[in-house]
Amino acid sequence: MFTARKSRLALIGGIGLAASLVLAGCASSNPLDTPTEDGGESAGSDTIVIGSQAYYSNEIIAEIYAQALENADFTVEREFNIGQRDAYIPDLESGAIDLFPEYTGNLLEFYDDSADVTSPEDVYTALQDALPDGLTALDYAEASDQDTYTVTKEFAAANKLTSIADLASLSEKATIGGAPEFEQRPYGPAGAKELYGVDLAFSATGDTTLESLLAGEIQVADIYSADPAFETEDIVALEDPENLILASNVVPIASSDVADEIADVINAVSAALGADDLVALGVQSTVDEKSPEEIATQWLTDNDLL
């Protein structure tokens, strides 16, 4: 009886201590707060911290930036594989990350989803206005990773399709597959109807969009233009002469503090990053299974940047 009470007291005391520790932890740092100085300070003022999304193509571009800067005698710290936009934008805005490969259209959508520009130049201009203070968009590259209206080459040949407008001549109503949110995007099926007069049904094929297209379940697919499938499969993206689709070129987003220092090096990379490069780089990653470091070194050497 006595020992039972004693141990119960000890237990209550233990719980109380644990609770106070937890509460103290809460008081000193809110885990939901934006991390601020920590990253910036530990890296030192001369170090350029480069981030990347948890997306192999993005990581390769980040690695290209990193090696180009190292070649120009900058100290670089790699913070790759951070995840999606919601996860890393706070770090980028706070200056904990100095440089991040981004995509003009998608980033503009993040900051201003009411923008109605679609061509590469207009999107870039709108993005520069939409970016918060402290962030600078360096030159954008010709390479882009954006939505497409893609068909199999067989289907294109059989129906003489070269542009999205040609889909209007199909005898049967075609279905376009894509991520769930594509249905609501201005360049989704409703946009195609308005701009090109093309009537498309929608199917939310999500992660299996390519497989669904190859299986014939859908006739048109929204596949990102940097997808290695454009080289490995017999598919072709339809042209978009009226700029229906939001352009999303690769654009380096830098902290304004370091933007001027690194501009020469990074802009040279952007200038060399051509339209088909991302697909080729992606194939080296997914098919040849090379590491981002190897792929980046190879590309920089091929383009006389290393």
């Binding site: 769930p180 949110e181 939310a204 094929t205 999500g206 299996t208 497989e211 669904s212 299986a215 379940e217």
Partner: protein, 259 residues
């Protein structure tokens, strides 16, 4: 306007009744996958559970399998099955996932329902000259029914909540507003979809609770009403009178149903 009000505004907007993803369509898809999956699971799990409960054999195996099955993450299983079966058999892949989710609760409901019956009731039935089939159909099944309906209730609730992920593989359902709303950062839509799933689950749970009450055989209902007060129940339990065993069979569903 706070998010909850925005979600309600989203729900009651007239646009929700239009197009490919109108809410009635999504509700129909959600109910379709729920009903089909629970029915298939019942066809598999109930006879198996009854067999285990009647014979008393294979219980350990059933407990182990259904316990392990509960731990399988439905989302991962569904995506894996879609990859294995291919994009043309997505509905089958999703249905298998939901069936596997529903089986443990139904199996447990079926065999615990039979197990909870006092052996003396069965011995008495046997002594009056009933055949094994008669014992099974006239004694074991009716007495085990409340627990079985309890298992059905748990299974249905889990499946309603989980069919939400069907939208991820293009099967629609009430998960669609959630799956589409997250990348668009339209949180009124996400919350609206979540509210719909929760309301549907509550309604289904209420109806099955009524069914569970109705499933208690009339004889037991009379007996348990006699020992409703805690004191009487305690006295009955300590004395292990025949009425106590009936009482436990009748009240077991609320305590033993694996929710």
């Amino acid at each position: 306007m706070n998010l909850f009000a925005e979600a309600l505004a989203w729900l009651f907007s007239p646009e929700r009744l239009e197009g490919q993803y109108a809410l009635p369509v999504l509700l129909g898809q959600h109910l379709f996958y729920t009903v089909v999956s629970v029915v298939i699971a019942a066809v598999i799990a109930v006879p198996a559970g009854w067999l285990i409960g009647h014979t008393g054999r294979g219980r350990e195996v059933a407990v182990a399998i259904s316990g392990a099955a509960r731990a399988v993450p439905s989302f991962g299983l569904m995506v894996l099955l879609v990859l294995l079966l291919g994009v043309l058999r997505v509905p089958q892949a999703a249905t298998i996932t939901f069936v596997l989710l529903a089986i443990p609760s139904l199996l447990a409901g079926a065999y615990t329902g039979l197990e909870a019956i006092d052996r003396r009731v069965i011995d008495a039935a046997r002594a009056t000259g009933m055949t094994e089939w008669q014992i099974f159909w006239k004694v074991e099944v009716p007495l085990g029914l409340p627990l079985l309906v309890g298992g059905l209730r748990a299974a249905t609730l889990q499946v309603i909540a989980t069919v939400t992920i069907a939208a991820y593989v293009n099967l629609g359902g009430l998960g669609w507003p959630i799956i589409q709303g997250i990348p668009l950062r339209r949180f009124d839509q996400v919350l609206g979809g979540a509210i719909l799933v929760a309301v549907l689950a509550l309604i289904a749970d209420m109806l099955l609770a009524l069914a569970q009450r109705a499933a208690v055989p009339a004889g037991i209902r009379v007996a348990s009403r006699g020992s409703r007060t805690p004191r009487a129940a305690r006295r009955a339990a300590s004395a292990e009178s025949p009425s106590a065993s009936e009482d436990s069979a009748a009240t077991a569903p609320s305590s033993a149903s694996p929710t």
